[in-house]
């Protein structure tokens, strides 16, 4: 009897708890609506556009566009641009980060460098393109200074608004991004390790080669992959610099979107977008794996 009553009481209490759990979960709705409408549905639209035909049946016809020579060369050029600027950015950025890591996290130097790198790497976009135009554009300040000294930057053609210009522009945001990504890893290196290797009679070079490099290698590789994905996804600087033509994938998406009067172009945009998402997903997945290794030492 009492056991039964107690059982009933727990049952009603747990159903009450369930009800309040449901009420609480309902509180997720406004945020959930935003994410579903403006992130998840758009992603679904992209995949549907690439993988479904007009009648909604799955097709691989859209993906055939990825074999098109123009599209293939755009992906090749995107890969090339991303690989070069990731490598250059990682090396130069690591050098700057190493120098800055010597100062305390609250020092003025550190604050200024991190703020400047944050602006350049993530919020510059169009202004960065105009910074290049003002500096080394056809009538840029440095171009004219060098011209006065007899050096013609554009002796072999106007390269700023083509692939070499993109390499330079991308390097301008890849180096600062490397600084931001690599600094936390460098902060994880404990001074005690250095003291230990010096106490044991090792030289600075041995410490660098046998301790710093192995410990930081996973973080460096992860950052390299992140920089590659970042360059692949970038759009604003390239769009502002290259107003016509579509040498790289994001600019091909622009062309496909802006000429949507052509039948099937919207699907071309989706197909290119899916191609991009897949590449970025693979690179970011690899980055996450490397990141896990990084966490072993640098916490």
């Amino acid at each position: 009897m009492t056991a039964l009553a107690a059982g009933r009481r727990t049952a009603s209490r747990s159903s009450g708890r369930l009800a309040s759990e449901v009420t609480a979960a309902a509180g997720l709705l406004p945020f959930g609506a935003l994410v579903v409408l403006f992130l998840l549905i758009p992603l679904g639209v992209v995949f549907a556009g690439a993988l479904l035909d007009e009648s909604g049946r799955p097709t691989l016809g859209g993906l055939a566009a990825l074999g098109d020579p123009v599209v293939r060369s755009a992906f090749a050029r995107s890969f090339e641009l991303s690989a070069i600027t990731a490598a250059v950015g990682a090396v130069l950025g690591a050098a700057v980060a190493t120098v800055v890591a010597g100062s305390s996290p609250t020092s003025a130097l550190r604050r200024v460098v991190v703020a400047a790198c944050g602006v350049l790497s993530q919020f510059a976009g169009v202004p960065l393109a105009f910074a290049l135009v003002a500096t080394i554009g056809l009538s840029g300040v440095v171009t004219q200074l060098l011209g006065g000294a007899g050096v013609d930057l554009y002796a072999s053609g106007v390269w700023l608004f083509d692939t070499p210009g993109l390499v330079l522009a991308y390097t301008c945001f890849q180096v600062p991004l490397m600084v931001i990504v690599f600094l936390p890893a460098l902060d994880g290196v404990r001074p005690a390790w250095r003291e230990a290797s010096l106490t044991l009679g090792g030289t600075r070079w041995q410490h660098f080669r046998l301790v710093s490099v192995p410990v930081l290698a996973p973080a460096f590789t992860g950052a390299l992959l992140l920089l590659f994905a970042n360059a692949l996804s970038a759009y604003a600087t390239a769009a502002a610099l290259v107003s016509q033509g579509s040498s790289i994938v994001p600019l091909q998406i622009r062309r496909a979107l802006s000429s949507d009067v052509l039948v099937g172009q919207q699907d071309l945009a989706s197909t290119l977008a899916v191609g991009m998402v897949l590449v970025v997903a693979v690179v970011m997945g690899a980055q996450a794996l490397v990141q896990r290794r990084t966490a072993r030492w640098l916490r």
């Binding site: 945020f31 639209v45 202004p127 300040v141």
Partner: protein, 285 residues
């Protein structure tokens, strides 16, 4: 003995390298800024003129775009804080199962290129325009999504520094109603994190070009790009102004305290686009 010799010499060498790297980096950052200042104030005859800078406020295209971008930045900041903060509190207090899914969703925009988001969001915006009219302020929805990774990390850093449960239980047992708990107890403890969030959202919105340009809305970066085709000096002036503004915003961010107990979260960790927990909160290895 030999260590006495190599010690100071290596130190001096390291110092030389250190200053060389810093000097080159500073030059690489400052030369373009000075070039922009020179470019935007020079005249064809070789004189100086503030024409481009005064046009920032008078040029009809640019001044309209500046107004749009500022409104959009503030609106997005309000929407992000109003939607994300209550959601994160709810998850922290009641729905612990939703913690990781929420973090995953918030970091997702980092892994999806903005140009891909545009392709998928264009049909959704056909509906938004149908329902709300074609104001550029419509961009607030997609901008709120793009700002989620930064906002989530800044707010999570703030919440991580609080003993939220104790705080809320104390307030509740003293008879506070839920709205009072959030507005009068939790929020005052999170001012640093909320301010960081606002700064980051504003920086994201003021710099965003991809979505606005491809959806056809004239925000500041879009206008800078368009104006550049007829008046390069004006565009360079506007570019310099927005770079300096973004720098001031982020420098201010690094001075904000986030969380009360722990030391301020390093700005580099908040800005980093790595979709992993900042150092110190990682899983034990």
């Amino acid at each position: 003995m030999s260590r006495h010799h190599t010690g100071p010499r290596a130190g001096a060498g390291a110092r030389t390298i250190r200053w060389t790297v810093l000097g080159v980096a500073a030059a690489a950052a400052l030369v373009p800024l000075l070039a922009m200042l020179d470019f935007s104030t020079r005249t064809p005859t070789g004189g100086r003129s503030g024409q481009a800078w005064s046009s920032l406020a008078t040029d009809p295209d640019l001044s309209a775009a500046i107004l749009v971008s500022l409104q959009l930045a503030l609106l997005t900041a309000v929407v992000v804080v109003a939607l994300l903060l209550p959601t994160m509190l709810l998850v922290a207090l009641r729905l612990s199962w939703a913690r990781q899914p929420l973090e995953l969703v918030c970091l997702l925009p980092l892994a999806v290129p903005a140009v891909v988001v545009v392709v998928g969001v264009a049909p959704v915006y056909a509906w938004v325009v149908h329902l709300l009219g074609s104001s550029p302020l419509n961009l607030v929805f997609v901008y709120a999504v793009l700002a989620l990774p930064y906002a989530h990390r800044a707010l999570a850093a703030g919440l991580g520094g609080l003993d939220l449960r104790t705080l809320v239980e104390a307030a509740r047992s003293l008879g506070a109603r839920w709205p009072d708990v959030v507005l009068k107890v939790v929020l005052p403890n999170l001012t640093g994190a909320v301010a960081s969030t606002v700064v980051l959202v504003v920086a994201v919105v003021l710099g965003e070009f991809t979505v606005a340009s491809l959806l056809g809305y004239d925000t500041l970066p879009v206008a800078i790009n368009l104006v550049g085709k007829r008046d390069a000096e004006l565009s360079v002036a506007a570019s310099l102004a927005s770079l300096v503004l973004a720098f001031v915003l982020l420098l201010g961010l690094s001075l904000l305290p986030v969380g009360r107990r722990r030391r301020a979260a390093p700005a580099a960790a908040v800005l980093s686009p790595t979709p992993a927990a900042p150092p110190g909160t990682g899983a034990p290895s």
